[in-house]
């Protein structure tokens, strides 16, 4: 059975970010870090965070369409070195993420409901032997599928 369009779009984001990233930008991974050691930084991870649903139809019987507003989290982890702070080292990855994803149409479909954009960016810091930062990009993707068939576009 095919997965949902939401899943396809999440995979597509990983693929886009992993396609010839500039030097110093790691290949993005779906899900979380399996290797939690400091050696795994810098890292980019991608996973769905939230999906707001809206049902649409003519008001008679079952709806025709499920409209999704999917929030996908693109996380960046970086650490400081002798010349740059952790947040400075994260900026190269943030530049790549914004350039690659903002305004991108996630499928061969066109239209205003199918363009993704970064909605917010948040930084968390931790000072240890090195300085560390976690940057949380909230990426919004709006898409719609047939009611009761999350793998069929409308």
């Amino acid at each position: 059975m095919p997965n949902t369009k939401r899943d396809e779009v999440t995979d597509l984001i990983v693929t886009l970010l992993g396609t010839t990233p500039p030097g110093g930008v790691p290949v993005a991974k779906r899900g979380f870090l399996f290797d939690m050691s400091a050696a795994s930084v810098p890292a980019i991870t991608v996973f769905p965070e939230n999906d707001d649903l809206e049902l649409r139809g003519d008001g008679k019987g079952a709806p025709d369409i499920t409209k999704h507003r999917v929030a996908i989290r693109v996380e960046v982890r970086a650490k400081s070195d002798t010349t740059h702070s952790a947040d400075q080292n994260a900026e190269l990855m943030l530049n790549w993420i914004e350039k690659t994803l903002n305004g991108r149409i996630p499928t061969d479909r066109t239209g205003p409901f199918h363009i993704m954009h970064i909605d917010s960016i948040e930084w968390d810091y931790e000072q240890m032997e090195h300085g560390y930062v976690l940057v949380k990009n909230k990426l919004i993707v709006e898409l719609q599928n047939k009611y009761n068939d999350p793998n069929a576009w409308t």
Binding site: E129, H130, Y132
Partner: protein, 88 residues
């Protein structure tokens, strides 16, 4: 303990005095319930007032490695001061 076998040399400025050194792995930057990272913290406890030049950003040499002093805090009854040591 700090002056006996539990202590080890800590150098700040021109002074070398025994302190207590802890090197601890901690999970940090956990988000959405997902695993975060394991970072290392180097914590040095010295007698309060023992080092005349102890201040944020000064070099603290422990086990042959020069660190920068960050987050200097007195502990408990104030007899000891804890220093978080950072490489950068």
């Amino acid at each position: 303990m700090i002056d006996a076998s539990g202590g080890e040399p800590v150098t700040i400025g021109a002074q070398t005095i025994n302190g207590l050194v802890d090197v601890v792995d901690e999970e940090i930057l956990v988000a959405q319930g997902f695993a975060g990272l394991v970072g290392k913290s180097v914590l040095v406890r010295v007698k309060t007032g023992a080092f005349s030049s102890l201040a944020d950003g000064v070099t603290v040499t422990v086990r042959g490695t020069p660190y920068k002093a960050r987050s200097i805090q007195q502990e408990g009854d104030g007899a000891l001061t804890q220093v978080l040591c950072a490489l950068d």
